[in-house]
Symmetry: D4
Subunit: 250 residues, 8 copies
Amino acid sequence: MDAKKILRHFKDGKISAEKTLTKLKVLPFNNLGYANIDYHRSLRQGACETIYAESKTCRQILGIVSDMNAKGLKNIIVTRVSPEKIKYLTAKKVNLKYFPQAKLAVVNFKEIKNKKGSVVIVSGGTSDIPVCEEAAVTAEVLGSRVTRLYDVGVAGVHRLLSNAETLANARVVIAVAGMEGALASVVGGVVGCPVIGVPTSVGYGASFGGVSALLSMLNSCANGVSVVNIDNGFGAGVIAHRINKTESAK
Amino acid sequence: MDAKKILRHFKDGKISAEKTLTKLKVLPFNNLGYANIDYHRSLRQGACETIYAESKTCRQILGIVSDMNAKGLKNIIVTRVSPEKIKYLTAKKVNLKYFPQAKLAVVNFKEIKNKKGSVVIVSGGTSDIPVCEEAAVTAEVLGSRVTRLYDVGVAGVHRLLSNAETLANARVVIAVAGMEGALASVVGGVVGCPVIGVPTSVGYGASFGGVSALLSMLNSCANGVSVVNIDNGFGAGVIAHRINKTESAK
Amino acid sequence: MDAKKILRHFKDGKISAEKTLTKLKVLPFNNLGYANIDYHRSLRQGACETIYAESKTCRQILGIVSDMNAKGLKNIIVTRVSPEKIKYLTAKKVNLKYFPQAKLAVVNFKEIKNKKGSVVIVSGGTSDIPVCEEAAVTAEVLGSRVTRLYDVGVAGVHRLLSNAETLANARVVIAVAGMEGALASVVGGVVGCPVIGVPTSVGYGASFGGVSALLSMLNSCANGVSVVNIDNGFGAGVIAHRINKTESAK
Amino acid sequence: MDAKKILRHFKDGKISAEKTLTKLKVLPFNNLGYANIDYHRSLRQGACETIYAESKTCRQILGIVSDMNAKGLKNIIVTRVSPEKIKYLTAKKVNLKYFPQAKLAVVNFKEIKNKKGSVVIVSGGTSDIPVCEEAAVTAEVLGSRVTRLYDVGVAGVHRLLSNAETLANARVVIAVAGMEGALASVVGGVVGCPVIGVPTSVGYGASFGGVSALLSMLNSCANGVSVVNIDNGFGAGVIAHRINKTESAK
Amino acid sequence: MDAKKILRHFKDGKISAEKTLTKLKVLPFNNLGYANIDYHRSLRQGACETIYAESKTCRQILGIVSDMNAKGLKNIIVTRVSPEKIKYLTAKKVNLKYFPQAKLAVVNFKEIKNKKGSVVIVSGGTSDIPVCEEAAVTAEVLGSRVTRLYDVGVAGVHRLLSNAETLANARVVIAVAGMEGALASVVGGVVGCPVIGVPTSVGYGASFGGVSALLSMLNSCANGVSVVNIDNGFGAGVIAHRINKTESAK
Amino acid sequence: MDAKKILRHFKDGKISAEKTLTKLKVLPFNNLGYANIDYHRSLRQGACETIYAESKTCRQILGIVSDMNAKGLKNIIVTRVSPEKIKYLTAKKVNLKYFPQAKLAVVNFKEIKNKKGSVVIVSGGTSDIPVCEEAAVTAEVLGSRVTRLYDVGVAGVHRLLSNAETLANARVVIAVAGMEGALASVVGGVVGCPVIGVPTSVGYGASFGGVSALLSMLNSCANGVSVVNIDNGFGAGVIAHRINKTESAK
Amino acid sequence: MDAKKILRHFKDGKISAEKTLTKLKVLPFNNLGYANIDYHRSLRQGACETIYAESKTCRQILGIVSDMNAKGLKNIIVTRVSPEKIKYLTAKKVNLKYFPQAKLAVVNFKEIKNKKGSVVIVSGGTSDIPVCEEAAVTAEVLGSRVTRLYDVGVAGVHRLLSNAETLANARVVIAVAGMEGALASVVGGVVGCPVIGVPTSVGYGASFGGVSALLSMLNSCANGVSVVNIDNGFGAGVIAHRINKTESAK
Amino acid sequence: MDAKKILRHFKDGKISAEKTLTKLKVLPFNNLGYANIDYHRSLRQGACETIYAESKTCRQILGIVSDMNAKGLKNIIVTRVSPEKIKYLTAKKVNLKYFPQAKLAVVNFKEIKNKKGSVVIVSGGTSDIPVCEEAAVTAEVLGSRVTRLYDVGVAGVHRLLSNAETLANARVVIAVAGMEGALASVVGGVVGCPVIGVPTSVGYGASFGGVSALLSMLNSCANGVSVVNIDNGFGAGVIAHRINKTESAK
């Protein structure tokens, strides 16, 4: 660890006490002016920083990606990135793989061969698929094995129950649903592993852009359900991977 | 009908044109000053006016009940009436039967012997029972046969599915649930008759006093679900009875 | 029923106990990957699955419709479908009838000749007509006789009252209104049959996209009013048909 | 006017320019430390300051009342004052008349004999009466003639319509209603004078303490309806009186 | 009145009792199918029906206008009408005058020469002018004299106070403001006539499209302020005119 | 498994096909009328049903507990149970251990000796401790080893950072905070394991009973944070235990 | 600074590199188990930690106070502390001064003699005084000179304007108001120094416990206004003091 | 001051008492009809009026700017002005400098050479930069020295802490953040000067356009944080400058 090196320099009299203290606080990140890339994160959290592209300009995204690329990082995830921005990045010779349903790109994509464990993603309806795919691709890029069970909403609960075996073998389930979001509760009542609810903005009127599904999932009468932000497939994918990669407690 | 009698009086010259027009507008109701009892309602809607006791004083309730009693009305429903108010009314010799779980009283109670049809009431949990009973007693007093299936919430969906036959034979189902209110959707996906969702204020935190369940039910992905106000068991009982008493269309 | 056939196979030793249990759980549906079509629904609920087109791609709609068509289904309802999507489907030789005001298409449309009963649809204003028509066409395609009373809002309550006879003969009334949504209460005070309130998003400012009308209808002081989601004409049409088709209780 | 007197003093050299400017800004009010009584208001607005008692201590109320009493003011209105506070004030020899339904007291009450014009107050139900009475007593103390039409809600709209003549002769109508608050719209569709809607907190569940009625009234499809705060009978009474006392335009 | 004529016909035996009762309920309106034009309104309320154009099609507007035109009506107000719709109507030879700032058209415009009384309209800022003009033109078309005081918001309260005389002579004031909507309270503290607050959707962030201003005005600590819907200049204009035209009470 | 036994009975001709199908649907639960105890849950989810005591009567709780006790279940968790209810249960000879800070009781408490893994619970302030303890006791009763780090809120972020090592060794962290709920994000930025945010209702004014903290946690800019309902320490404890007990993926 | 001492120990070989790094992170605070007292804060922020008593038990408050007292700290502020808790603390011999209007106690109170600068606190009404006093006492205990201008709300704006000179000389103004909260904007339009708006929960109905005033202040059209939480007089007092104590920039 | 001149004229008999009183109320502003430019403001508040361009037409902006220009004003700030409007103004020969990131223009720009003090602006992420720049440019134009620390959000709190020295030397800090807005609390816990929180609308789903960040900042557990409206960089810049320019109290 670098911190020890700084201490050694201090002991050797190369730097003053003041400087030492200051340096110890300065962990590795790179300041591009508009962005402060946190290279310490991969040490701390096992995955490099992700780029949320929605409110960044093409040039900002390119700048950040280039800086990370120069460090030799692989599998840099860029979320909520439109086809237009992908065109720009590709034209600038950025090496990436685009997943259009998930609106997610992976720079310096290197597929993980032996994916592990079992993340199961269930969706209420066809319209929830983009959010599902954001979660699925994220978990896969991070190294998890993913099973997709789409359009198994509670209006025909037998479609879900017919997958009981798959659900029983899951290490973690992601339940993605809009409208009334009841899917999370029904799944939560069936499985014994953690369930991550992802409310989606699918619906109209009193669905209030996903609020109805969000509240449903937060109030789930089934144990074991926790919730992420509306349409936050990426977040669910990260958490599911973290749970899935957990090793036996000592 | 009285209106024709008024017209006859006019034709016979007993009353002027002006008076006739005014009288025709005045349908039967009795003005107690603080309440305008609508005696026309039983003609119009097949059931006499109901008394919502929550924000009325003991004396107001007594006054209304006495006036209706003097007209010889039976089975006058008083909703949301506390045991204290019941004590007052009983002391004043009001002839009533009290249903404490439902917090509902029936003045001049006359049980309907051959109740008809099939109203099924399902509840998510034990805590929803007061609302269920308000619905059940209301429908029974009006003449409907009622089946109660309590504590069959979606966290253990097999409890509901084990009653598939009872549900299949229902003419109308009332689904009562708090928290995430997913029960209405699951029931709505199983039956082919109308479903009335009653969100309850059971829950805490982001249930917001029943709002979460209310939104869930309004956004139900299952067809056939309509919704009443939070904790409105009485309203659900009335609607269920109206549907249940429907006769074959000609 | 197929379930018995599976049991017979088990008894005959053709399949193991495990397989039997699994098969019994798998009810008839067809998995297209992005959609799980529930062919069991018409048995369970008397009408085949409906396609909510708003958040589906043209190709997804075509895929689902084709699969259902191949099963020989008639009168498949597609809701919230734009003229652009209709163009695509028509170009792909899908046999459909489009109702532009209702933004609703019926695939393999086969008009029901002797429609039955009486569903009355009242609207507050001219702007509510698209929602009304979604309800009306839905109920008609399912087999109900529908009467339309449009623009009879409470700002001129005599327009509504002049239709008293039509209302008195209704088996169920759908009250469609935006702004303050008072229509449902006034109708609910006049008729003795069930009333389904449909709040619409017509209005501005503090109408909050239909919330004002929704709350009004949920808080109706008139008995007999239940409510569906904002702008949910389709849902109201389904429920009204279910009530309307109810036969005399035995 | 005093301001001229100050100017005269300045001209006469009695006070400096600075002092003059300061004095001119200081209009008549009396600073009690915790309250700044605005004695200019009766000149400006035709009625002395009102005391909102709800969040004031007994001693603060007494202090303000005594100060106003010392100026010889009559008909000082104290709103939202509990029986306990009335007991305290009476014990302190404050000369007042208490209206318990309205929870309103008038200090140095002097009944206005020939009340003028016509303010009509209509209420949806019996439970709205306290708010109605706050409005009624306020308007009467200020000098308006008031007609009360209580419990004429829209669930039995004929009760309202039977009072068409009284409504037609009103100079201003106050419509008081909780729950869905539809009364204001129906009244607004019937009369040609200004209508003041007062939503009340009567109701439960999705009435949200009067919000449902408030939104209804704000979104009224009838012209001529303006709205005051939930349960604000006093405010409605003041406005109604101001409209009622309007004289013919020159 | 026609009702008497109907009674006469009944007395003369020309029509049956049943028919008489039915006819008496049918007040004058014209059913275009998509719209029920209420010709009784001008009798009842002293002004003909207004057309809210925002959610109506060009053809619907034309149909309604033509029907009203055929009855010889003057000064038909069409609100929230876009320049595009005006082009269509003009091309169809509709005789109208357009007020572009107010987005309001008057069909068969006939200016009222001797406007009466005094309606004063104050606005918080330049951005509120469209709403102000909707109110101003409405009141003027109905016959009121209007004074405009624009951009006198509370951030420089001396701009308002410098118009004290104009305000003191008003018979009614319309206070139009977005953002925090404090103008209504300050005006309400200055004048003795009724004040109508019109919150506007001007602002951003936590103004929530006018909700902040709406709440401010509803909670005004000044007496005499009532409120209309966000951006509802038309409604404020109607109410102001009704107050302004009030004649001395007898 | 019982299902196979049922199939055998069928094969042996002891029961008909119809009966077999019905029985297969009926999974093990016990209907007490007011409660349907789900004894299948411990098979399905590894823990027996929990009793949410808040809205249940003493008698209902006693009935459920007795029924579960008769089945010989250990470590039955009763949440949100007041000291008064504990007194009642103790008087009725229920064998339980009460955790007063957590307001949680465990019936037939049998401490798990070798707790495993590492669940770390961090709290923003002293006032959040009851919710923390509900989570902590739940996880411990289920078998997890728990470390408590209380009052390490972000207003003094060094208090949190000084526990970096404990956090780094956690298998899952529960972050409990009211007010602005920023703790979850700061923790989420530090650790690499899953973080469960529990917003609490601690705060006043615009904290809206926990909504502010809830929204903060849902919008966390740190990856790896999922959220449960406001004050839902129990739910967080269950999920944390499920994650903590996860074994290495095969 | 201690950090340097730790470094010296490391250099002297007394502690290892690992230990050094850990110790450097551990800044001075004292862990009582239920509370982590941040003794570093007075270095960092110029004032010791404050105790928010509302949701703490008597014993917790006593524990924290005793620990701080043992360190010899003066002027420890305890906010939102009820008279009952004060009784307990006094009985336990805690040396404190209680300000009952502000519900604020100061332990080891030592009045600051030469208070500096000028903080002006203006309030809308008498009912806002408790919040004002919380702000005033806080600022005074910290060393600021405070001027109180109470009950100068916008319904009589001359009362505020008559204090123009006091306002002009303020270094910072705290504007405290409930209901519509317009006071902040009016003050903000008059002064040139920073204004801190404190919305209060005074009001009823659509004031929503202070939300109306909060939104008003956030949307102020006057420059220079920032806002704290509803009823947060303490926070306003701290900020005002920090601004007031600012010295001339170099 | 002009007021004294008016008094002198009165004393000299040049103007009457009435005229004097009127004139004294009329402070210097210029009425353009659609705008009332407040030229008194620069006297009162040390900076001339600012133009909020978002909801003004090009012609209105030009009119106001021209009028102010004619008075010889420098550094007139125009906020929220789009490039299109800038094109128009430039074509009309308005002398301005445009800051595109901040969407802010300065008419008659005259850079202040020796900026003073220290305003530090920290942002949570890259997407918050436009709001930061609005604040930064505003403060600089008014004369403050500004330091920018961008993308130092709490998901990597070491990035913020590494700037401890810069923060410690700030006279005021502006903390700009969207999503959960935790940055303000963390900064508030670190510095001893006033902190102004600016929530931004960056985020999605349950961020509700900045509401989540707004609530977080209002509920900050750190002392010293006050808040402005969502995205209100300009307001924060003004307040920060006012604090920064404060001189030592006498």
